[in-house]
């Protein structure tokens, strides 16, 4: 029987974990290790927006979409409708203009609750429009990625979103735009192999799984177990693909500093 006080305490700890992205916490005398999966699970795109954007500064970039179902895949539209009711999202990404520590920026955040934040036409289009908006307004672009990869239910046109988002981001960078990519758990497949790994600066959350192929596929291919920590954020930092692993509780301060460092031109 859990008392009301304990229930409140547990709730607080869960909340604190989400905010701080702690993978190890002390509860009483016992050290509890919380897997990155659990920490990532309940933290929504709007939680992220609340934690990173200055209070009241986030103005969502509205875009209206028709139903994207190019394969007319059985059950897909219905599934999306149900998820829209459940999450309040139209698809797996939220984007908007905001300030972070006083510095203006465009921010896009992917939300795993919506079909593992897989990338179909709508996700690709929203990322593309966020980058275009940043380019037109001379603003830095921050994307918090999380994704299972290309959305299979949209077939080849989902794959084309990799080329589309990469093209738009590259054009934005070529025009002098700053793009900060923040890899969160998990960032894999077609998202990992497109805009997620194109950042001028790449941050990652502790313990986040980041890779092109999923661990199970790799294990099946090579016929052996993968080493502990393989494809985790710290592993990528060690191998030179991530600038810094940054815990959630420090994320806003780090982003503010990076925006500050890019707020003046030296030449």
């Amino acid at each position: 029987m859990v008392t009301a006080v304990e229930e409140r305490k547990n709730k607080f700890i869960r909340y604190k974990n989400l905010r701080e992205n702690a993978t190890e916490v002390l509860e009483g005398r016992a050290k509890i290790v919380i897997p990155a999966e659990k920490v990532a699970e309940a933290y929504t795109a709007m939680d992220r927006v609340r934690d990173i954007a200055d209070a009241g500064s986030f103005a969502e970039l509205s875009c209206e979409f028709g139903e994207t179902d190019p394969l007319e895949f059985s059950g897909y539209s219905e599934k999306k409708k149900a998820l829209r009711d459940e999450t309040g999202l139209h698809d797996a990404v939220v984007s908007g203009r905001c300030t972070v520590g006083g510095y203006p920026a465009v921010m896009a955040v992917m939300d795993k609750r919506f079909m593992m934040a897989s990338m179909g036409i709508e996700v690709g289009e929203k990322i593309a429009r966020a980058a275009e908006y940043a380019m037109e307004n001379g603003l830095p672009l921050i994307i918090f990625t999380a994704s299972g990869g290309a959305r299979m239910q949209e077939g080849m046109l989902a794959l084309m979103q990799m080329a589309k988002t990469s093209a738009v981001i590259e054009r934005f960078k070529e025009a002098g735009g700053l793009y900060i990519s923040v890899l969160t758990h998990p960032t894999t497949g077609g998202v990992s192999a497109s805009f997620a790994t194109l950042g001028d600066i790449t941050l990652a959350e502790p313990g986040a799984l980041i890779g092109f192929a999923g661990p199970r596929v790799i294990e099946q291919t090579i016929g052996e177990k993968l080493p502990e920590g393989f494809q985790r954020a710290e592993f990528l930092e060690e191998h030179g693909f991530v600038d810094r692993v940054v815990a959630r509780r420090e994320m806003k301060a780090v982003l503010t500093k990076l925006l500050k460092l890019h707020s003046k031109e030296s030449l």
Partner: protein, 257 residues
Amino acid sequence: MKAFDRVLKAREIARPKITDYVEALFTDFFELRGDGLKKEDKSIYGGIALFHGEPVTVIGHRKGKDASENIDCNFAMPGPEGYRKALRLMRQAEKFKRPVITFVDTPGAYPGLEAEMFGQSQAISESLAVMSRLRTPIVTVVTGEGSSGGALAISVADRIFMLENAIYSVLSPEGFASILWHDSSRKAEAAEVMKLTADDLLKFGVADGIISEDSIFANVDKALSEALSVLKKKGTEELVEERYRKYRKFDERFCGA
């Protein structure tokens, strides 16, 4: 013909390979090896050659003609070194102002431990980004199976042709059936649903033309010649902008107001 029959045809070991195309369509081919960083990845084959007397850069996935050749080139499944070699060759083509011709035929990028460790994702994304802005014409021919990001990574092009029995898809029909239906034996049904044939992809605007297989080399030669003669007349800015517009639009029919 059923979609899955096309899948089987696209994978036939007797189908012409990149080495056959190089021999049939080009002269003076000189192979370039290595990514200049780490190692030579034989699953990508590339070099410089003359096409009707004009210099071009040729790059493609390499499948073997038998088991031992296939082991040697890792069944055309590149690691990051392969994509970085392709990128090195493309940047060189841009510098020397010669068009890039790519041949796509891969089951996908290699899902291996080392491939992940050395940045498979980053190698593919960089290839997509650089190809989207490359200041020289790019023409792709999908000759066999074009599967997943591993195929896309060398096919961001001004023109994409598919052989009539080639396929191009987000992943293999087996993978699709396994992930979405938890039953990889439903691969034929998956192939039907996925819209992966040349006809389907022409309708989606992914392919710009279909090449008939009655006389493969002559038809590929003709398609490439015609495409290059149009693309070479364009100014560089126009070329890059048109390529950008082509990819930016996928797929505007679904994006509303």
